[in-house]
Symmetry: C2
Subunit: 471 residues, 2 copies
């Protein structure tokens, strides 16, 4: 008997042994009535301890495929073949457990699930309230889209050329001068990260980032073996970065304007200093700039505007401003990076929705977008004020926070470590959904990402009161 | 000197050489003042012609990193290190080469690129002609979409519930009875394959398939370490499959109706036999059914209709019928598979375009889709007849083929091995784009995937004449 379970597989040893035994029965190697070798001997030849083997045998007994008659001897059951034919169920759970991609964190899965329930009050959701989306204007603009057979066909690898031209014009307001050749249209910022992970990084690569980061709540890098490493404010030094990085390939991920989840904004001087540091260290940068339009005061230009050497991969999107449902974002980077990302995007989904691309182009070109985000900022600002009033009412003595400079979030810090999974579950049962700090930074029990962008005034008031009562 | 540029990379040879020279200087292999080998010798060892080398050298001279002093000798400039530090160019090529995802095959990249050029005649494209897309009807239907703030927000993990309900009703015509819980909406069939690769398979898993297969022309499985294995018609036996499979995790990929590229259709008896074989072998099946609506005679029910144990993962799409630009497809499978795929889809792109989902739901619900595909089949049938006339005119003595039963393709088999990369390139220079057999089956030089779906009558006539002349 040469087969042994593979300790490098995701699947447990017992599960592998169980699978192997089923194959032995199916293939006729062990016909019905076969007496199995003594367990001690079998465990030895499989290279596992007896309790592992016992686990597999017990499961197959429960399935009716093996049976014990006298004493400890184990037999292949007489009706085993019949059972197997009857079952014929592929064991998808085994496939899933052994597969490549990581599952979402359980808290995130619960958040995704309960966000579908309209009766839930969402206190942390990173999404505009349906009432803030320009539904009627989008509906009206659908009539003006220049549809034709070419547009409705497969997209070019980098996305619609006319949309890319419109993006070039649009990002001038961020201080960025670029060409359509340096842009790839993607299905939102998250896809951009996935494309960077698959197209530029390798297992073991290091992704440096803020100590509290949106990246910790998604899996585009972790699923492919890249390691995230959080830097506290005083660790953005050449010395520290060199020490952490060692000889590993590395990249820095940053949301310089309205950081998710903390809401922080880097000043122009901060951006400059960080850019210079990364340039000196030859550390490429991913600049995630999807929130800048929501800054209450005009935001400092993008870090990308400093870039003369193709150091910075810039990500933009309309998901936080116009509509997440359109699924349109863009990457701006040096030509080899864009070619690579576009090639992989073609291999993943053959490009983004042509309709969505047309809508975004129309909104950017006609000024509809500019007008909409102006109104949106005002709405968000009054929502932020409401949230601060509620915070002062309920949590002034228990927690601290900064007044938001824009965006969706207030990063609330409790003096005591009260933001636990248990609190999350308790509130969920009462139909209040929170975004605990621990999904953005491991072990955290002090923070909460509050969002003033989603709930109605009534929901925010009720939700904050319930939060207060449960804490 | 062992390094040579890689002709399969997208980056030009000169750019690769330039990058390599910078690495030589950076790493200290070529310190300041180094005299480069004579160009003739260097070009030879790099395996490129002198003009390519000259291009790289000229660019580095322009950058100030190389200089010529006397005659033809070239030196590393004395201030090269200083310049490099000042430039601080990240070496993206190194990132790309070491990264996870495979590049598209060079022929495929060229096809993607030249499909953007409207002056090119496309003889093999897997896409409907823009003139066959119902542009005006789609435009008209945009006015009737029930847009609201909820729909334009982030999607639920499995996609729009109402679209999934419409798909349930629609696939009854394929003999499939299912529920919205067993459906995940995806951005086209290719994304479905990527999600299956990442969510269910592992490096080393075996994907069994037709010996000539669309899968060989894309990379969703190969990029993550899965192995494709082609089966010829007589190898679909339990014995052969067991031998090939060994102990590896395996899955079977099949396009039973209008196979891409061969156009073959399995009869109901064939499907039944294959299903029974896979069930007995506990071999899960991916049934790719994106072409069935294009069958000239009603197609036999889907293999999925036989499935009582969740053995079959079924893929559908509107890309081959309504519009590839919408990017909407669907996966129908057992609950754990759908949950897994949906979870990963959320992590990859947060769902498909809401607008596109609304359009597809509207078209399925109102019968617009049914009417459109009926007209489309008639159009494709008359195009297929034209293509057969041209084939008889030019290739009757040189090649054989089956009359198409639907879809887009004729799988032309030449008696002589004439379908080479060289022929592909020669035709490309004359602005005729073909899909050579070797992108569907390694080493093949006998086949051509002809498509009668894309070119106009004039283009097809001209293209076929040019093909004839070049062969």
């Amino acid at each position: 008997m040469s087969w042994q379970p593979d300790r490098l597989l995701h699947l447990s040893l017992a599960a592998q042994i169980k699978d192997w035994m089923i194959r032995q029965i199916q293939s006729g190697e062990w016909p019905a009535g076969t007496k199995l070798p003594p367990q001690r001997k079998l465990a030895l030849s499989l290279g596992v301890n007896r309790s592992t083997l016992q686990e597999a045998v017990d499961e197959l007994k429960a399935d009716g495929l093996l049976s014990s008659r006298t004493g400890s001897a184990t037999f292949v059951a007489n009706d085993s073949w019949h059972l197997l034919v009857k079952q014929r169920l592929p064991n998808w759970q085994q496939y899933i457990e052994a597969s490549i991609h990581k599952s979402n964190d359980q808290t995130i899965q619960l958040i995704n699930e309960f966000e579908q329930d309209a009766s839930v009050i969402r206190l942390g959701t990173g999404e505009l309230s349906p009432s803030l989306l320009p539904v009627n204007e989008i509906q009206a603009s659908l009539g003006s889209l220049p549809l034709d057979g070419k547009t409705l066909g497969y997209s070019s690898p980098q996305g619609s050329e006319t949309l890319r031209q419109a993006i070039c014009d649009y990002v001038k307001k961020r201080g960025i001068t670029t060409t359509p050749e340096n842009i790839c249209v993607v299905s939102g910022g998250l896809q951009a990260l996935q494309l960077i992970a698959l197209g530029l990084l390798q297992p073991g690569s290091l992704v440096l980032q803020h100590e509290y980061s949106y990246l910790n709540s998604v899996r585009p890098f972790q699923s492919f073996g890249m390691n995230l490493h959080g830097l506290s404010a005083d660790q953005y030094t050449a010395e520290h970065i060199r020490k952490v990085r060692g000889r590993r390939q590395a990249i820095l991920y940053t949301i310089p304007t309205l950081h998710n989840p903390t809401g922080e904004c880097m000043t122009w001087e901060d951006k400059n200093a960080l850019y210079q540091l990364c340039a000196a260290e030859r550390l490429p940068v991913i600049e995630d700039d999807v929130y800048f339009e929501l800054s209450f005061e005009p935001a400092a230009p993008a870090m990308k505007s400093l870039d003369r050497s193709g150091q910075v991969i810039y990500i933009g999107s309309v998901s936080k401003t116009l509509s997440p449902g359109l699924r349109i974002g863009w990457v701006i980077a040096s030509a080899p990076v864009i070619q690579r990302i576009s090639d992989i995007k073609m291999q993943m989904d053959y490009g983004s929705s042509a309709l969505s691309q047309l809508v975004v182009e129309h909104w950017l070109r006609t000024g509809l977008y500019e007008n909409h985000v102006r109104r949106l900022r005002a709405e968000l600002q009054s929502r932020a004020e409401l949230m601060e009033i509620l915070l002062k009412q309920y949590f002034e003595s228990k927690a601290s926070w900064e007044s938001p400079q824009g965006g969706f979030y207030i990063w609330l810090r409790f003096h005591e470590p009260v933001i636990t999974k248990e609190l999350f579950m308790r509130l969920l049962k009462k139909k209040v959904l929170i975004h605990p700090g621990y999904i953005y930074g491991a072990q955290d029990a002090h923070h909460l990402r509050l969002s003033f962008a989603y709930g109605s005034e009534k929901e925010l008031r009720k939700g904050m009161e319930m939060l207060y009562r449960e804490i």
